[in-house]
Symmetry: C2
Subunit: 709 residues, 2 copies
């Protein structure tokens, strides 16, 4: 078995089959030449666009860190697709150690590390230690606790994880079953899992790696009067899990890895049952609450709202991540579809000698463009909105410090809706782009199939992207009710929701004001249209709730639609605003021109996709819809020559893409052959005689060990 | 490394961590009890529905074959998710051998084998030998060739594959690069790969297993006049690849496995370059063409159209497969969402003692229903259309034998459109259902993540599901033009396309004739609506092509929409027809009732999803659309109590589902724990000290072998 010799440290396998020299050349125009031709069509400088998108600091940082990663053997990705889960975990653990060492050696700051993690794209066992474990220890600890837990964690003397989700409870934190009961007599908490569904589950790093955990458990403290235990809600506790040296589990902890998942193979998501586990008072991360050590008296936490700020930050970063996913999927599909040629155009004339006309690049097919260009322009849409959400996050943090919670609700609701929409769109785009790569998209060499598997949890965690929309819906209802009651109700000047709701209330029967294709070149037209639709859907859903008195559950689908509409409005608004107001962009005409085309395709395509609602409200007429749909097709053709230059502007390194199809140089076919040559199975010959129990004939090289199944 | 001891034949691993006895019980109402309650709600007999769907023969066959599979150690699926690719290939090869032995021992016929393959759901290395290799040998051979190739293949003395696709050419068979040149002097063909892109690629079973291949190559024969070589198009040739005993490659063959894919791990998809490979004249599978052995004179094949019959058959079987995929995804999601409870209903009253109200089953959320009920009712829609396509296939075969090609074009075009639509819908449904399972959907224990990976190629092969729609479009254009020129042009009575096109031509301004929800209970209303829309889209696209003289490429998106609309019409038509005309169904009132609800949800949901086009044509008014959307929500609630009984009616065995979440008994949580206990990583302790190069602390049991990475 190939895996055996690998894991015991033997060198890279020798290639079993060599391609004869005279057959190594692809037939037809080579990929590198085809991409060269594409790049010559650029109407703008991809390097200027790159600088505009990322800024100088980011590019400088990336260019400094990338070579370090590319040259580190522990970070070599060339064999990961041949590894089994066990090998991948080990590879991941080694990567984590080297990354930590390098960080210390080179004095990387948090941004450097974050850049490295992004380029590595190999989430592994220290993931939660570096993020949630340390974050919680930083945010919710006293000085004493920082000394006890945070400092050792920062020195990696202890490795932690964050244990919240349970087998029976994911989304509903209030419903967690694990208990932590305070005993004043021993000044300790006893942690207990009441049953099987109480087992912590999915906890990253818990299965094999972590020796400490922040455990979320329902706090019970004795009531002042009669000492009866009273439930206080979920709070975090530090629990040691394993002996630091022997790595053996401490008593009362039943811990294991939960087994293989669709992706994240290097992460040891784990499960844990706690049985009468006693921890001292100091292990309670009080945050803003406290338990009196002597009496057990409980003091409620203040400032619940501050936690929302963190959520906004996480969701803003998920939008920026979705941006990168879009750009990455589009890069692979657009480059490969420029290199791949299949069939001649149906309208192409036969050549004089009766031979078939030359085959066309796949990217020339309208039906291919319609699938791979939307993700490309959506990446830009996400970019502008992600940037704006970071701005609002910082603005809100500043405001809250001054006691001003005026924009929190709007920013939180918008970030919830965007988390939902952007993660759903990003996951669809990966698959859409993978399919557009035809058969080779299915190979792990494409880089897209594994990207899909690893990206999927984003749709579920940090608030399920379907159920989460209730947060946005609730806020939209509230805003609508407020403004309906008083059009002059005070609203922050940053509140975009109020803008469109007020416009709608003033004129619910508004119609789309376009008649000619040329009219569609005004970005404001789309801002108004998406605002009207979001308000229309909110008004419709609100009527069901407030007038028809329908149950909340019976309008969940309507609420989902409201949240989607609000989020699409936000994407359109921020993109339009950049075109209209960003001086940096406006001063660079070539960039502004191509961004305008991207915006038009984004806005028209989104509007066409959601046309039913624009038509149903009467905002759009059937004739206008036909014009819009045709405009989408025109825009695909308009964007076609800029497709490769636009993905080049994102400048995602080959090291990150790890894709034979999406290579910067377009040399696709030899890369696919190299991928085949790496397959360990190719070392072995097999016995296919149905009457024989023998499976392997014996390795083609090395020791003559023949194993039976 | 765990894999090591596995592959060398050691027994199943011992469980590293045991759950304490007193913590083995899930908290709250157990899953089995919850499913019991669901089953008590049935308004019909699931067993009667099962019989109606499958028929007695199918059920008898399934019940006879299933226990054989369940009791065969070589078919035990419990460990497949822990295996690496090499182990999986070996497992698959062993499975193929045992399956062949059992087939011979028990005298299984082709239908029995097909049933077994379906229940096993473990496509492996003999896949193409059993299907395309033998099929081609049966269809395209002389008696002499049957003796030479088919008989040994039937006895598994030779193992074959079918080598068509090339590295640079998938869809475009006419563009294949591999050549086969006839040399009358030696009475042999020389096969040659002209370059790297000519390498056969993706060929199932080629990589490590097959010793023979049917190779599709461009035939070149000398021209009668001056002996110049003339290209005759792609034809099949039998080529031996390996020595039957040593399994070594024969000279001139460069063959290897192409490496890991998103799914299909047990299949050794392979690549092959042929360099001056000489084969005798008899290895040319002439089919209906021939090459004169003496002169090399080429005789063209007749009856091209017969090949379309086979395509119709394959596509009909893909519809039935999509049906099973839908039913399977819905089964897992509906059962698990009935067992899983999360959050209390927002409108639920607080209990008197101030505690939170009980959590609700996830299946009660409208937004969950809206995602998992459509696949359920789509499965029934696919069922009726799949059945009808088989009937038309047989009808067409009979007709063609008599020289009547009157329905071929309609059946072929419809089967192409349905292949596209059904595979796209089935793949989306798997993922939709997986997401509805929340976090646990991401575990391979869900059975859905791996189902997705294995199902995906269906979207690409047998005609890419996007590009294939051009076949349907071309036919719709032709029919429309014919009927526009002459409304009385002769059409087969089986031609449904003509029905709706004629209706549309007679009244293009027709409006949907419903005003009240009650009007929607007439199936014919939906047949008319979907027919009108399909005709409207065809008319619109045809106008662009014929009047505006637009290029074919510039209307590919329109054509895709036409094909989708035609296929949705077909699904609605066949479902409605069964309700209206199937005496077997009509005589069983309880079944007819529940199928009617399923039809209504299918039709209303599909119409709502595609509402933009119904609105744009003016067929549907905004008011009607609102009524329709609300009706979808009502139907979700109506179907809710029948959801579990309906998936029970499909009666998909646990052995097939292989899902901890979709278990027939609902005992989900202990199954997830068992899945964790099987994870090989759990045997090992790891050294997480960042300053140490050691990765493993050493196995917790067995020999003290510590490996370094």
């Amino acid at each position: 078995m190939s895996a055996t010799s690998e894991s015991s440290g033997s060198p890279i396998l020798t290639v079993p089959v060599e391609i004869p020299d005279h057959l190594q050349k692809p037939v037809g125009t080579p990929g590198p030449r085809l991409l060269e031709i594409e790049r010559a069509k650029a109407s703008f400088s991809p390097r200027d666009l790159e600088l505009y998108l990322y800024g100088k600091d980011y590019i400088e940082r990336r260019d400094r860190i990338l070579p370090v990663l590319e040259n580190e053997p522990a970070f070599n990705k060339s064999r990961i697709h041949y590894m089994d889960r066990g090998e991948k975990y080990r590879f991941g653990l080694r990567k984590e150690k080297r990354l930590t060492q390098i960080q210390m050696e080179l004095g990387w700051d948090d941004d450097d590390l974050h850049m490295a993690e992004g380029l590595l794209d190999l989430p592994a066992s220290f993931n939660l230690h570096r993020s949630m474990f340390m974050k919680t220890l930083r945010a919710q600890t006293t000085e004493e606790q920082k000394e006890l837990f945070l400092r050792p964690a920062e020195r990696y003397e202890i490795i932690g994880c964050y244990a919240q989700t349970e087998l029976g409870h994911g989304s509903n934190v209030q419903g967690l079953e694990t208990t932590a009961t305070y005993h004043p007599e021993s000044k300790s908490f006893i942690l207990q899992s009441p049953g099987l569904t109480s087992a912590k589950w999915w906890i990253g790093g818990l299965g094999r790696t972590a020796d400490h955990a922040v455990v979320m458990a329902q706090l019970y403290t004795p009531d002042g009067k009669n000492g009866q235990l009273v439930k206080r809600g979920p709070f975090p506790f530090v629990v040691q899990l394993r002996d630091l040296k022997t790595r053996e589990l401490l008593p009362g902890r039943t811990i294991q890895d939960i087994g293989p998942k669709a992706g994240y193979p290097m992460v040891d998501n784990g499960t844990m049952l706690l049985d009468q586990v006693e921890i001292p008072h100091v292990n309670f991360l009080a945050g803003y609450a406290s338990v009196d050590p002597e009496t057990g008296k409980f003091n409620k936490p203040q400032h619940d709202k501050l936690a929302y700020g963190t959520m906004v930050y996480i969701r803003a970063s998920m939008i920026q991540q979705a941006r990168s996913i879009m750009a990455r999927s589009a890069t692979v599909a657009i480059r490969y579809c420029s290199v791949r040629r299949q069939f001649a155009d149906r309208d192409a004339p036969q050549t004089d000698d009766g031979r078939q006309p030359a085959e066309t690049q796949v990217i020339n097919y309208q039906l291919v463009q319609a699938r791979i260009f939307p993700p490309l322009v959506q990446a830009f849409a996400f970019h502008f909105t992600g940037k704006e959400m970071y701005r609002l996050y910082h603005l809100n943090e500043q405001a809250m410090k001054g006691g001003d919670f005026g924009i929190l609700a709007d920013v939180h609701a918008t970030s919830s809706g965007l988390k939902s929409l952007c993660t759903l769109m990003a996951s669809s785009s990966i698959e859409e782009c993978r399919r557009a790569c035809g058969g080779h998209g299915y190979s792990l060499a494409s880089g897209l199939a594994s990207l899909w598997s690893d990206y999927l949890p984003q749709v579920t965690w940090e608030g399920d992207s379907y159920m989460l929309t209730q947060q946005t819906g609730r806020y939209l209802f509230k805003t609508f009710r407020t403004l309906l009651a008083d059009r002059n109700a005070p609203m922050s000047k940053e509140n975009r929701t109020a803008d469109y709701v007020l416009k709608y209330i003033a004129n619910p029967e508004a119609k789309a004001p376009f008649k000619y294709v040329g009219d569609l070149s005004d970005p404001q037209l789309f801002v108004d249209a998406f605002g009207h639709r979001a308000a229309y859907l909110t008004a419709t859903a609100l009527r069901k709730r407030d007038i028809e008195k329908r149950s909340w559950n019976s309008i969940l689908c309507d609420i989902f639609r409201c949240s989607t509409a609000h989020s699409q409005y936000t994407l359109v608004y921020n993109f339009a605003k950049a075109l209209q107001e960003d001086e940096d962009l406006k001063s660079q005409r070539a960039l502004h021109r191509v961004m305008t085309t991207c915006f038009e395709l984004f806005a028209c395509h989104t509007m066409d996709t959601e046309a039913a609602e624009f038509l149903s409200s009467g905002y759009l007429s059937p004739k206008q819809h036909e014009l819009l749909r045709n405009r989408v097709h025109e825009l695909l053709a308009e964007l076609r020559p800029q497709a490769v230059p636009l993905v080049d502007a994102w400048n995602l390194p080959d090291y990150l893409l790890n894709s034979a199809l999406g290579r910067q140089d377009g040399d696709v076919y030899p890369a696919l052959v190299r991928f085949a040559q790496g397959e360990p199975l190719n070392r072995t010959r097999f016995n296919v005689d149905i009457h024989s129990d023998e499976i392997e004939v014996g390795p083609e090289e090395g020791a003559k060990v023949s194993s039976k199944l």
